[in-house]
């Protein structure tokens, strides 16, 4: 009886250990989840875009439109159009939205920052088309 209990307990323990291993392993972000951004681009995105455009944002529209945390795991076509769209909205001064900038004027993109973002987005899209 005691033996049986012991075996049962060690069985449970083993199961528990295995389960936690699986959880830990699956929780680890894969390489695809984190896009590699050049430092200067990352700084601009962190400053002016990321707060709304990430999976944990409470701005549903913004994260549906573009989620920087998921960008790298999108299909090739979706990625190309995302980069194209980033370049377009920045160029047309549509992003960050005017309303948002009224409260946080410091998040406005400077001309230099816009230039960096636009040329980065263009380069990424071109690379995708070239290396398909």
């Amino acid at each position: 009886m005691i033996m049986k209990n012991k075996r049962l307990i060690s069985g449970f323990l083993f199961l528990f250990l295995f389960a936690s291993l699986v959880i830990v392993a699956s929780d680890k972000p894969t390489k695809e989840d984190t896009p590699k951004l050049p430092d200067n681009v990352k700084m601009i995105i962190d400053k002016s875009c990321f707060a709304c455009h990430n999976s944990d944002s409470r701005n549903e529209d913004a994260k549906e439109e573009l989620d920087f945390k998921k960008l790298a795991s999108l299909s090739m076509i979706k990625k190309i159009s995302a980069y194209k769209h980033i370049g377009d909205v920045v160029e047309k001064n549509e992003m960050p939205p005017k309303k948002f900038l009224e409260n946080k004027p410091e998040k406005k993109l400077t001309d230099k920052e816009k230039e960096i973002l636009i040329s980065w987005a263009k380069k990424e899209a071109e690379a995708l088309v070239k290396n398909k």
């Binding site: 076509i77 190309i80 159009s81 088309v129 398909k132």
Partner: protein, 156 residues
């Protein structure tokens, strides 16, 4: 009292007739060789979607209904057409580069999937513009397919 009502009615009538002389330019241009339906091999079911639900505002040819020519309705229609063409003009499809085309196709699917397009006012006037779930799925499958086709047709 009766007289004043009559005066108001006459004034309204005069105003209504007067505004008829201020008509916006009609969107009835020549069909272009750059039109998406001319450039791409669009299957019949997708062509029907474009014709019924998109091209009136997103091309150089609008099919006007009789009351669309009467001000102030004509002004409203004109605004929709001008805004629509500014956003996307499928008559100019052939002039777009690959990035524009892929981005546009993706956007077409997204807008339709989220029921943002065609706009409610348009669907109210054009019953055929109401797209079924099946049509939306077909349209999105087609946009993705065409994007991939174009992508792999680009020579490095």
């Amino acid at each position: 009292m009766k007289k004043s009502i009559r005066i108001i009615l006459i004034l309204l009538l005069v105003a209504f007739v007067t505004i008829q002389f201020f008509q916006p330019e009609k969107n009835t241009g020549e069909t272009s060789a750059n039109h998406i339906l001319a450039k791409e091999n669009v299957p019949e079911n997708i062509k029907i979607i474009f014709q019924n639900a998109c091209l009136d505002c997103h091309s150089n040819q609008t099919n006007y209904l009789w009351y669309h020519k009467i001000a102030p309705v004509s002004w409203m229609i004109n605004k929709h057409v001008v805004d629509g063409k500014e956003e996307l003009n499928l008559s100019d499809w052939g002039e777009m580069d690959i990035y524009d085309k892929i981005g546009t196709l993706e956007e077409i699917c997204k807008e339709v999937e989220r029921k943002k397009m065609p706009i409610t006012a348009y669907v109210k006037m054009h019953k055929k513009a109401k797209l079924s779930d099946k049509q939306v799925a077909e349209l999105c499958a087609w946009t993705e397919n065409l994007s991939l086709e174009m992508l792999y047709a680009v020579e490095n």
